[in-house]
């Protein structure tokens, strides 16, 4: 009885709560309209998805995942593919993990290796340019990281940065005019940012790091100058780039896979040993680090510069050694290739680095490759 009484009292109390203020009819109508509107939207999106599923099904793109239709042979194939993916996936994880490493860390070689591989695999000049610029940004970040950690900056970081900047210019020089102008602006802007960064780093860097930072800054300054010049005088820029690599004479350390022809460097790696020049009657491939053979000592065109322009410098029967850019260097009075010569013309990007550029200017001096 006591319980019933308590329940009754409580019931009365709850009854008080049952009376709530009436709902605003406008708010209720709005809520209803929104609900129905949302339903329309969801119905449309659901029917689109259903159509897509139907199309996918009819195209058979998900055949592998249709369990009932899979044959045992296909299962085995999937197992093999999965095993390969898992195996190489591990390597992929390592490469991924290496991407933030600094030069003093164990994974840094993996990082640089992955960059080299990337550059050597990509054929599109535009994509290579983008990568080269991205990698140059990484070098600056690495310098910053090392300085922040109070560690010295290894020379190879600076070298890699220079090579990447060089590659960017080479690639732009090989593009068509409209494209080149557009990309020169990008190259300049990136270099300007890096230059500013370098200036900031120098302000807080120890004395021992100053020489390297100074060199890097000068390099960036030169990059900005060349890119700016290119924006106003593209032909002059191309000439400068050609001369620049000619001057380097193939002795500069090149970033692997960067090649020397912006349009399509050959697949040679920096460690690859080329066919010795002058041993065949045609222009042979050349390693950028090769020392040019004595000029004019044979019947072959001899070593080539990195962009494949023959360097006529000898007095022998061949065109002689090539400069770093492959531009013929008129340095001798011999029988190097001249106009109308029989020297085969090759495209370095197609036939390997060190090949002669198709647009090379025959050197003065005339005569056929094989001399007279």
């Amino acid at each position: 009885m006591k319980k019933d009484e308590m329940d009754s009292k409580r019931k009365i109390a709850f009854d008080d709560l049952i009376n709530i203020p009436p709902r605003d009819p406008q708010a209720a109508a709005r809520g209803r309209a929104n609900f129905l509107k949302q339903a329309v939207v969801l119905r449309q999106s659901a029917s689109r998805q259903a159509d897509q599923r139907l199309n996918r099904g009819s195209n058979g793109r998900f055949l592998l995942f249709q369990r009932r239709q899979r044959s045992p042979g296909l299962n085995a194939l999937i197992a093999v593919v999965l095993a390969v993916v898992i195996f190489f996936g591990g390597s992929g994880v390592t490469v991924y993990a290496a991407q933030d490493s600094l030069p003093d860390q164990a994974l840094y070689p993996v990082k640089t290796w992955s960059e080299d591989v990337t550059l050597s695999l990509i054929k599109s000049p535009q994509m290579r340019l983008n990568n080269a610029l991205d990698f140059s940004d990484r070098r600056v970040v690495e310098m910053e990281g090392l300085l922040a950690a109070g560690k010295p900056i290894p020379e190879r970081v600076e070298t890699r940065l220079q090579n990447e900047l060089d590659l960017a210019l080479e690639l732009v020089a090989g593009m068509d005019d409209a494209h080149a102008l557009q990309q020169l602006q990008q190259v300049r802007q990136r270099a300007e940012v890096q230059y500013q960064k370098m200036a900031m780093l120098m302000a807080g860097a120890p004395e021992s790091a100053q020489p390297l930072l100074l060199r890097t800054r000068a390099c960036l300054q030169e990059q900005i100058r060349l890119a700016s010049m290119g924006e106003t005088d593209l032909q002059g820029f191309r000439m400068q780039i050609r001369q620049r690599f000619q001057y380097k004479g193939g002795t500069g350390e090149q970033t692997p896979g960067t090649g020397h022809n912006p349009q399509g460097p050959g697949p040679m790696s920096p460690t690859e040993t080329p066919m010795p020049s002058g041993t065949v009657n045609g222009p042979g491939p050349m390693d950028p680090t090769d020392t040019p053979a004595p000029s004019g000592t044979g019947n072959s065109p001899g070593p080539m510069d990195p962009i494949g322009t023959p360097v006529p410098s000898g007095t022998g029967n061949g065109p002689g050694p090539m400069g770093p850019t492959g531009t013929p260097v008129p340095s001798g009075t011999g029988n190097g290739p001249g106009p109308g010569g029989n020297q085969p013309i090759e495209t370095p990007g197609q036939n390997g680095p060190g090949s002669q550029m198709p647009d090379q200017t025959p050197p003065p001096g005339g005569g056929s490759s094989h001399g007279s």
Binding site: A13, D16, I18, I20, P21, F35
Partner: protein, 183 residues
């Protein structure tokens, strides 16, 4: 035959195809009760509207993802509303509601109004001190007049569990109200 009221199952079947009349019917059938339920739990008209809107929105999402209700639509909707309110409590504890004009009765004297309002607020505050599931049970049982079976479906719990939940809720409520009377 045309005037025959479709069952929840039939409505749900149509709702899965996003049939507008069926969805409108569901809204018209259940939104007033949901609003009342939300008002009793939240004591705030704006929040109660939000609760109703969000409940129906989740219902549509459920239909789209094929995770919507199979049956017992009412229980499903109240569970959605309950979950939304619990989320609200977690995000920001609800503030005590002040007495305003909207609480004023139309036919009672000012003294009676005041006395009833005080009782209401005391009970509301006491209910809000219960656990979310206890609040849900008390609201549905004593304010909405649901049977234990219905509440069990809305909580996805056995009816026995709901009964014991209800007992514990009442005991706690009694204790809270008695303590407040002593204060």
């Amino acid at each position: 035959m045309d005037n025959q009221v479709p069952s929840d199952t039939e409505l749900l079947e149509l709702a899965r195809q996003f049939d507008q009349p069926a969805l409108a019917r569901i809204y018209d059938t259940y939104s007033p009760g949901l609003y009342r339920y939300a008002m009793q739990r939240l004591s705030n008209q704006d929040l109660a509207e939000d609760c109703v809107a969000e409940t129906f929105s989740r219902f549509l999402q459920g239909l789209r993802s094929k995770h919507g209700p199979e049956d017992y639509l009412q229980a499903y909707l109240y569970r959605m509303a309950h979950n939304w309110i619990v989320d609200q409590y977690r995000q920001a504890p609800l503030q005590p509601v002040e007495l305003t004009e909207e609480h004023r009765g139309e036919n009672a004297s000012p003294e009676e109004d005041t006395s009833r309002n005080i009782r209401q607020e005391r009970l509301r505050m006491a209910i809000k001190k219960l656990t979310p599931d206890q609040q849900h049970v008390i609201t549905l049982k004593y304010l909405e007049g649901w049977e234990n079976e219905q509440i069990a479906r809305s909580l996805k719990k056995p009816a026995g569990a709901v009964k014991s939940l209800q007992h514990r809720a009442l005991a706690s409520l009694e204790k809270i109200l008695n303590r407040e009377e002593l204060l």
